[in-house]
């Protein structure tokens, strides 16, 4: 087909008001949070000592890290889904959550005697953590990959891995309300691996379904 013919065809196809991409992403996050909460309460539920836990800084710090991860990943994937949008600052912001966690790890190493480091790091729930964060995150990840498909990521695999971080941030936030291993040492190892699994799944998935 001739290019001017194509232009004629496109022009006669009514454009219609387009929904703002930010709204679409916000909607996707709301749906994802609902899915994550549903799965969380169905398979895990809050820990029994939640009221006492709410007063300990270690428990609360988990939400600071996972929440920061989710917010920065949200901004980043939003930028990555628009062609020509500058996303370098958003990618830099992804380092905030790991940096917070690294500082907490250092503080924790000072706070704890060195002979309890290993036991605290391994904790009691490492396998639960590695299983349930990815499981809770699968639904949200699917929603985000579908959203990426609607947008136009020029680096699909990269955008997909950030979508995985976002799903991981949401999943880890809900999982943290059940887990009673609150030490930053535990979080730094197991949460990171669990979220990393979702990031890899996101990259592979987006490479398949978010190309356009």
């Amino acid at each position: 087909m001739d290019t001017s013919e194509l232009i004629k065809k496109l022009t006669s196809d009514p454009l219609g008001p387009a929904r703002s991409l930010s709204t679409v992403w916000l909607l996707a996050v709301c749906i994802s949070i609902a899915i994550a909460a549903l799965v969380f309460f169905a398979v895990l539920g809050l820990r029994s000592d939640i009221e006492a836990a709410l007063e300990t800084p270690r428990f609360l710090f988990k939400f600071l890290v996972t929440g920061t991860l989710a917010v920065s990943a949200f901004n980043c994937v939003n930028a990555l889904s628009r062609p020509g949008q500058n996303w370098r600052n958003e990618v830099l912001c992804l380092a905030i959550a790991p940096a917070l966690l690294a500082m907490a790890v250092v503080a924790e190493l000072y706070a704890l005697p060195s002979d309890s480091w290993a036991a605290t790091t391994i904790g009691r729930n490492s396998m639960v953590c590695l299983t349930y964060i990815p499981i809770i995150g699968l639904g949200p990840l699917a929603v985000f990959l579908w959203t990426l498909r609607y947008t136009a990521p020029t680096k699909p695999a990269f955008a997909g891995s950030v979508a995985g971080l976002l799903a991981g941030g949401i999943a880890a936030t809900s999982y943290a309300a059940q887990c009673n291993d609150d030490s930053p040492l535990f979080v730094a190892i197991w949460y990171t691996i669990a979220v990393g699994i979702l990031a890899i799944l996101g990259a592979v998935g987006a490479n398949r379904i978010a190309r356009w």
Partner: protein, 183 residues
């Protein structure tokens, strides 16, 4: 045709999104020109029809128009889509390329210089000495290589290189002057 600039293109696209078919047609025409220029410069080894890239990009613009932020610049959006389609085409052909962002930026800076009419080329060539003229015409217009040109004109390759270089310098000098004169 007068080149439309960033604000004008953004205005056209905003009008198009709010339902103005004519503005949309104008926008797509202009986008086609810009992408054609980019594709022709990037596809140096052949194997891909630049017009395919143009059409793929226009289609993507149409389908992904909601990814443009209406209060943001439109050129980076347009070129990012074209670049994605170009890389995709190269990948399908089994050869990977890296397109430097610098080349894209250059395109923003000087869109006016990327297409010239035959008449302009004629003017440019006419200003050259006859020896330089035949060398530049052979390489830039007819697309011969240095060695083919040397054989064709019965010159040494070095002589062709020198004449070609001097010819281009002369043209750049003259066109640059003219541009300054308009200021």
């Amino acid at each position: 045709m007068k080149r439309k600039d960033e604000p004008e293109l953004a205005r056209l696209m905003r009008a198009a999104i709010s339902g103005d078919e004519r503005a949309y047609g104008d926008f797509l025409q202009e986008a086609a020109c810009l992408v054609r220029g980019l594709a022709r410069r990037m596809i140096v080894h052949g194997g891909i029809d630049p017009e395919d890239i143009v059409q793929e990009t226009l289609l993507a613009i149409h389908l992904k128009r909601h990814t443009w932020r209406q209060d943001g610049p439109i050129m980076p959006w347009l070129y990012a889509i074209a670049r994605y389609k170009l890389i995709d085409a190269f990948r399908h052909r089994g050869r990977r390329v890296e397109i430097e962002i610098g080349e894209i930026v250059e395109t923003f800076a000087g869109p006016a210089s990327e297409t010239v009419s035959d008449q302009d080329i004629g003017h440019a060539l006419a200003t050259l000495a006859p020896g330089q003229r035949s060398v530049v015409a052979s390489i830039s217009v007819d697309g011969r290589s240095i060695s083919e040109t040397a054989k064709w004109l019965g010159m040494s390759e070095t002589a062709v290189r020198v004449a070609f270089h001097r010819g281009l310098v002369a043209i750049t000098g003259r066109f640059g002057q003219k541009k300054n004169g308009y200021k």
